[in-house]
């Protein structure tokens, strides 16, 4: 018989603990097929997708869309489809709106969705005091009446994009009775929606665990459990998918994407998304000279940058409309032409010996190769007679400077537009009254102004195309590229990429053998 000494007992205890830890991990690596684990690139700050800063974070919409439903649904190609509304539109003179609410939908607590929920959500969204960042959009309709499943409302100020917003940021239907019962804090602790997944467990900065909603009105969820791990560090996300700890991840460096998608057991998919890289031009200093603005645009080899810095993952653009957007016009071209750039500069008295000088601001690490792209652009500019000084700033500073119209003459930024409407890309970024614009001039406002309330859709889109052409001709902004989103996943899965960039669990399924 062996004597158990204190030292031996301690050793056995430590050994058992280590074994338990390792065994526990074997379970972790071998996740079952009814669970989908996504190594997600953002934390979820709040469950209320209609208020606060997180409501306008495009990345988080993937989670909101799993738990909640939007008034109007959106397919991965940005086209619209019925959501909680089965029909919608204006009357003939566009002074009233109508909406048909889907029947037979239940909230996660089992209570039925009612048209009153929809009305309450719309009215709440339109009140600035609730904290909806785009309350002005929602306030454009009101005075609703309910008749059965049909809602009618008054158009207070005509906004041609109002129904598109119903599939966009803050366009979620919230549970009136439940929210009023539990309040904002109670809702954050135990949120309910009508979406395909119910919230099961949540730990901020760590994970969100969802369970399939068996009563979901739409396509039945493919997984019993969906876990979002909030892994904000890109290196850690690569490790998550490579180690098998997660089934899917996204937004990783393109070098890693190319490496991982070639590995056995993993697959990769990439798609151009509704997010573009651009250089804001502010109407100040040397940028008041049209020749300098146009020269700065013509001097940039966008395709070269995409090929060399982004390994080909990107699509060069010449307007603020990506090819998937409704007002995209492929005939508007600016083109890479360094000789033309040098000639334009010479016409204004600038040359390599006497360069046009200005500051360009950029983030570093916020978007793939953002700083490196600007370095390359500054090098291209130098060759034609532009000497730009790079100033690195945080994105928070960009917002502050932009809102105060204090950006440098050139400032790199990325602009998302998941509904693909020109009003939410060219409009908000170029109209002088928008706090998000950098170039502010009366000539452009005169062209954009009437389009905000244009009721004829064909004329509206044609008008925006004309605005885009005018902007390109005047050089009021430098669109650079449409970003591509890389997604890596286990070979046993199938992932449908989403042009809106939201990696919704509903777009992931088990691959057919």
């Amino acid at each position: 018989m062996t004597d158990i000494t204190r030292r031996r007992a301690l050793g056995l205890g430590a050994g058992s603990l280590l074994a338990a830890i390792l065994v526990g991990n074997v379970r972790l690596a071998g996740a079952d097929s009814s669970t989908l684990t996504i190594a997600f690139n953002s934390n979820l700050p709040s469950f209320d997708g209609t208020v606060g800063p997180s409501a306008v974070n495009p990345t988080i919409q993937a989670i909101y869309r799993a738990v909640f439903d939007q008034y109007i649904g959106q397919a991965p190609d940005l086209s619209f489809k019925p959501g909680l509304l089965t029909a919608w539109g204006w009357n003939e003179d566009k002074t009233r709106v109508f909406m048909e609410v889907r029947s037979g939908v239940t909230w996660h607590d089992g209570t039925p969705l009612t048209p009153e929920d929809v009305v309450w959500s719309l009215e709440r969204a339109g009140k600035p005091e609730t904290g909806n960042p785009v309350s002005g959009v929602w306030a454009s309709i009101g005075n609703f009446t309910v008749n059965g499943q049909r809602i009618e409302g008054e158009v207070k100020s005509f906004d041609p994009t109002i129904f598109k917003w119903m599939a966009y940021l803050t366009g979620y239907v919230m549970p009136k009775a439940y929210y009023e019962k539990v309040g904002a804090e109670g809702f954050e602790k135990k949120p309910i929606g009508t979406g395909p997944y119910k919230v099961d467990a949540y730990e901020g900065n760590a994970f969100l665990r969802l369970k399939a909603n068996p009563d979901y009105w739409g396509e039945k969820p493919a997984f019993e459990t969906v876990i979002f791990k909030f892994v904000t560090d890109a290196t850690s996300r690569v490790a998550e998918i490579e180690s098998g700890s997660s089934d899917v991840t996204l937004e990783i460096p393109f070098e890693e994407f190319d490496r991982l998608k070639g590995k056995s057991g993993l697959k990769g998919v990439s798609t151009p998304i509704s997010d573009i890289g651009m250089i804001f031009i502010t109407n100040r200093d040397v940028m008041l000279d049209k020749n300098v603005r146009l020269a700065a645009h013509h001097a940039i080899d966008k395709d070269g940058i995409i090929k060399k810095l982004l390994r080909g993952y990107g699509q060069a653009i010449d307007t603020l409309e990506a090819p998937q957007y409704i007002a995209y016009d492929p005939s508007i071209k600016v083109g890479y032409d360094p000789k033309k750039a040098a000639a334009l500069l010479a016409a204004s008295g600038f040359s390599k010996d006497k360069p046009a000088r200005f500051t360009i601001q950029t983030t570093r690490g916020l978007k793939p190769k953002d700083y490196e792209m600007i370095q390359a652009i500054v090098g291209m500019w130098r060759k034609v007679g532009i000497e730009a000084e790079i100033e690195v700033y945080e994105i928070a500073k960009h917002y502050e400077l932009r809102a105060g119209h204090k950006l440098a003459p050139a400032a790199f930024y990325n602009w998302g537009n998941a509904i693909g409407d020109p009003a939410t890309s060219t409009g908000f970024s170029m109209f002088s009254k928008s706090p998000h614009s950098a170039w502010k001039s009366d000539d452009l406002d005169a062209k954009i102004g009437p389009l905000w309330t244009e009721k004829d859709e064909a004329r509206r889109i044609a008008g925006w195309k004309a605005v885009d052409a005018y902007i390109a001709q005047e050089g009021y902004v430098i669109p650079l590229l449409q970003y591509v989103q890389p997604i890596v996943f286990k070979a046993g899965l199938s992932v449908t990429p989403n042009v809106s960039s939201a990696l919704e669990p509903g777009l992931v399924s088990k691959a057919k053998v």
Binding site: I21, D48, S243, A396, H436
Partner: protein, 326 residues
């Protein structure tokens, strides 16, 4: 105690002013594209940012003294409640790293003292130098690659396995799982802590090892140790029973200081390992310019540092009562 209070007020003033001087306006991050100047002014008023700096500080400070740190702008929840949820995770991690650092460093110090003037001493010194030279976040990335990817034996992220995470009553998961005798959850929690603890603890272990070894060598030359050696006491017993007690003082003081640095280090380590502590939340708060939350977190970190220093001083007096008399 008065000094601690004055220090905290100083921290409060500095962080409050600093946050309003550095670029990045939280309101600018929330402005609607269709917002008018009046809308922007209303939003600013909603968060009290329309008032003068002094007025803002007085309102905030009065509320803080009443235990009200305000509401987080980005998380839309009470700051005190949020800190109460996250601080325990950071404390568990930091204390585990401290225990590891002290035990590992102490062991290395004793071994290298015993191995003095042998070839093995150089090997240990080299390793110790390596631990000292490599910063915690580099250790973190190296550990992720080795123990997370190349030999995936440890979980890479989070505080526990999301698939089986149970509901906890308190935010002290480690302690609670032990009290509930839930050893499966306990081992899961420990597994998730191993890599962050190693990343935080290895540099601390190296410092402890270096300082303690110096003190041990000095103590080993004292008369009482020589006497014990002449009496035939074994080298191990000489170190552990005679030299260690007198050598531990300087190491303890230094460990207290290093512990405060290590708590600061949890910010980046928590981020890399997606560990849901105060540091991880602090980074999000800074990105979102969530002023009430940043102020609350910094004040809590400040209070923690002061408490650690007080505890270190008290412990030093306990171990060496002569220090109580200067």
């Amino acid at each position: 105690m008065l000094t601690a209070f004055v220090t905290l007020i100083g921290v409060a003033i500095v962080i409050f002013c600093l946050l309003r001087i550095v670029p990045g306006d939280p309101v600018a991050m929330m402005i609607s594209p269709s917002a008018t100047p009046a809308d922007i002014a209303a939003l600013r008023a909603r968060y009290g940012l329309d008032l003068g700096l002094f007025q803002q500080f007085v309102i905030w400070f009065k509320a803080v003294t009443a235990g009200d740190f305000g509401a987080s702008i980005s998380l839309r929840r009470d700051v005190v409640e949020l800190i109460g949820e996250r601080l325990p995770a950071t404390l568990e991690l930091a204390f585990a790293a401290l225990v590891f650092g002290v035990l590992a460093g102490g062991t290395i110090a004793v071994i290298t003292t015993l191995l003095r003037r042998t070839p093995l001493e150089a090997v240990f010194e080299f390793l110790n130098g390596l631990f000292l030279a490599v910063p915690d976040f580099v250790w973190a990335l190296a550990l992720v690659l080795v123990l997370g990817v190349a030999f995936p034996v440890l979980p890479l992220s989070g505080r526990l396995d999301p698939a089986s995470a149970p509901a906890f009553v308190t935010p002290f998961y480690l302690l609670e799982s032990l009290v509930r005798l839930d050893f499966a959850t306990f081992s899961d929690l420990v597994a998730h802590m191993v890599m962050p603890v190693l990343a935080l603890g290895l540099p601390l272990a190296a410092i402890v090892a270096r300082i303690l070894k110096e003190s041990l060598l000095e103590a080993m030359g004292q008369d009482y140790v020589l006497l014990a050696r002449l009496k035939g006491m074994s080298p191990l017993r000489l170190v552990l029973q005679e030299a260690l007690r007198n050598a531990v003082g300087p190491t303890l003081t230094l460990t207290g200081v290093q512990f405060t640095f290590m708590i600061g280090g949890t910010v980046i380590i928590e981020r890399i390992f997606a560990y849901p502590g105060l540091g991880n939340m602090a980074i999000d708060a800074v990105i979102n310019r969530d002023l009430p939350l940043i102020q609350g977190i910094v004040l809590i970190f400040g209070a923690l540092f002061i408490l650690i220093n007080i505890a270190t001083d008290a412990l030093a007096v306990l171990l060496d009562p002569r220090q109580a008399h200067g």
